[in-house]
């Protein structure tokens, strides 16, 4: 048998920092972070969409910055801190998750992990964004269900909660205009 012809491709063996946990993992060297997360670490909260950088569905945070996990090599993430949607909630849901649920900002939910993480990065940098700033920060995430408005409103509400304000969703956000 020709060496290597029927053998599995050479694997990388490294320790990744995912959601604050150091995890040893082995994977084929050409795998993207998206594939490593979903297939090797079984963290399927990160969704795969276009896999070409055109939808934002696979967004995760690498060293705090939202990036497209479909276009980052797993190998290139050694020594970096990776945050996926699984790391957002602790004992309770993250305020963004709660706001998304309360306001119906998630419908089919497929794009939601990407939106949550991108919004989390925004709020860390800018705790009181305007609606325009939220729209701009989330302009790399596609959603085919909500029409985006509910998502922007949920980010605004979560931002208020995270600032310690006693904010309630406006009636028209919950029930529509009367």
């Amino acid at each position: 048998m020709k060496p290597g012809s029927l053998m599995a491709p050479e694997k990388a063996h490294l320790t990744l920092d995912v959601n604050g946990e150091r995890i040893e993992v082995m994977f084929a060297r050409h795998k993207t972070l998206l594939e490593v997360l979903r297939e090797d670490l079984r963290l399927t909260g990160t969704k795969h969409g276009c896999e070409l950088g055109e939808c934002g569905t696979c967004a995760v945070l690498v060293d705090g910055q939202p990036v497209l996990s479909c276009l980052v090599l797993g190998l290139a993430c050694a020594g970096k801190s990776i945050r996926t949607v699984e790391g957002m909630a602790d004992a309770e849901l993250h305020p963004l998750q709660r706001a998304f649920a309360d306001l119906g900002a998630a419908q089919c939910g497929y794009c939601t992990p990407g939106f949550l993480l991108t919004a989390e990065a925004l709020l860390k940098q800018n705790p009181k964004p305007t609606c325009r700033e939220i729209e701009e920060a989330l302009s790399g995430n596609l959603c085919r269900c909500t029409g985006y408005l509910k998502i922007y409103e949920a980010v605004e509400l979560a931002a208020a909660w995270m600032r310690g304000e006693q904010a309630e969703p406006r009636d028209e956000v919950l029930y529509g205009r009367r």
Partner: protein, 335 residues
């Protein structure tokens, strides 16, 4: 799933080592920076390097933007290293103040997520694009491959001997308009190339850079009495590559235009300088008549092909509108 083919991944820490690795690996190797252009291309089997040499670990490519100094003196040029991300370029205070066309070009690229990854150098070396090329392997195979990859024909212009893939970088026309200089480092040493000579009007052979050279820095001219802007046409306000880009640079002498450069993006395989349009505004006060004449002059040589989004007649017509708009913006800023 669209998966990357298997390849050897190298992470040099210095430019010298990177070039050495490229020399050793030969033509089957490619450099990668942010990966936002190369990896999708590899997934669709447009580019199939056996070795990928990552430039992200090279500190010399990620220095803070600074004035260029030789022997302790500055020549007024402002240096951007090629590994800076597009987010860093678009958000840099001094770039926003003195080189707003550069910041504008950068902030209009794709999406915030992609700009966190994509680099200045990567955008300037962006592969040319075409509706018949930027498709999956199966799609391309189904209609038979085009000459840019695996085939012999150009599906946009079947009788054409050349490839018509489109220059789709937003920063390339800006750099040509500004007459920026690019520093290339290769096995034979360094060389400086004006942005206008960095590009070829050929969809396949679109860069004058040799494959083993690395674009390491961009030198912007001293901000002294000139102004520039960039206008981008696309379907959505995010994600999309330009289907038309207009970069305009002017130098004012009092109330009149002393020098000008008008560059069209996404209508050819290179950023297209339109000297005939620049000539008609030189000596003018950018009054309505001069602006209209320049718009008409730019319209004539603007010859988009039917290989991106939107109809080509409309894209050609929009050249007029966008040149008018860009010049009007510069006039308004002068007042």
């Amino acid at each position: 799933m669209l998966r990357l083919p298997s390849f050897t991944y190298l992470e040099p820490r210095t430019l010298k080592r990177a070039i050495q690795m490229k020399t050793n690996a030969g033509p089957d190797a490619m450099y990668v920076a942010g990966g936002t252009d190369l990896y999708p291309n590899m997934k669709r089997r447009h580019q199939e390097p056996r070795t990928v040499i990552s430039l992200t670990g090279i500190k010399a490519l990620r220095k803070r933007p600074t004035d260029r100094r030789t022997d302790g003196h500055t020549d007024g040029r402002f240096v951007l290293t090629a590994g800076l991300t597009l987010t860093e370029i678009a958000g840099h205070r001094r770039i926003r103040r003195d080189y707003r066309a550069v910041a504008r070009g950068a902030e209009l690229i794709s999406t915030p997520l992609l700009r966190n990854m994509g680099t200045l150098g990567g955008n300037l070396c962006l592969d040319t694009r075409c509706n018949y090329y930027n498709q999956t392997y199966e799609w391309r195979k189904a209609i038979d491959f085009c000459m840019k990859k695996d085939g012999a024909i150009c599906w946009v212009a079947p009788s054409s001997p050349r490839c018509w893939a489109v220059q789709s970088s937003d920063l390339a026309p800006v750099m040509v308009a500004l007459d920026a200089q690019f520093l290339l480092v290769g096995p034979k040493g360094e060389r400086v190339v004006p942005a206008g000579r960095f590009y070829h009007n050929d969809g396949i052979d679109y860069l004058t850079k040799h494959a083993d050279e690395i674009l390491t820095e961009v030198r912007l001219p001293r901000p002294n009495g000139w102004d520039a802007t960039y206008w981008k046409l696309r379907r959505r306000g995010s994600f999309d590559f330009p289907v038309l880009g207009v970069a305009v640079w002017v130098r004012w002498d009092g109330t009149e235009i002393a020098e000008a450069r008008i560059v069209l993006g996404a209508v050819a395989s290179h950023p297209q300088l339109v000297p005939s349009a620049a000539e008609v505004i030189i000596g003018s006060k950018l009054d309505e008549e001069a602006v209209l004449a320049a718009a008409n002059a730019a319209f004539k040589p603007s010859k988009p092909m039917d290989n991106t989004d939107f109809g080509l007649a409309w894209r050609k017509e929009m050249t007029r509108t966008y040149v008018k708009g860009a010049l009007a913006e510069l006039r308004a800023r002068r007042r």
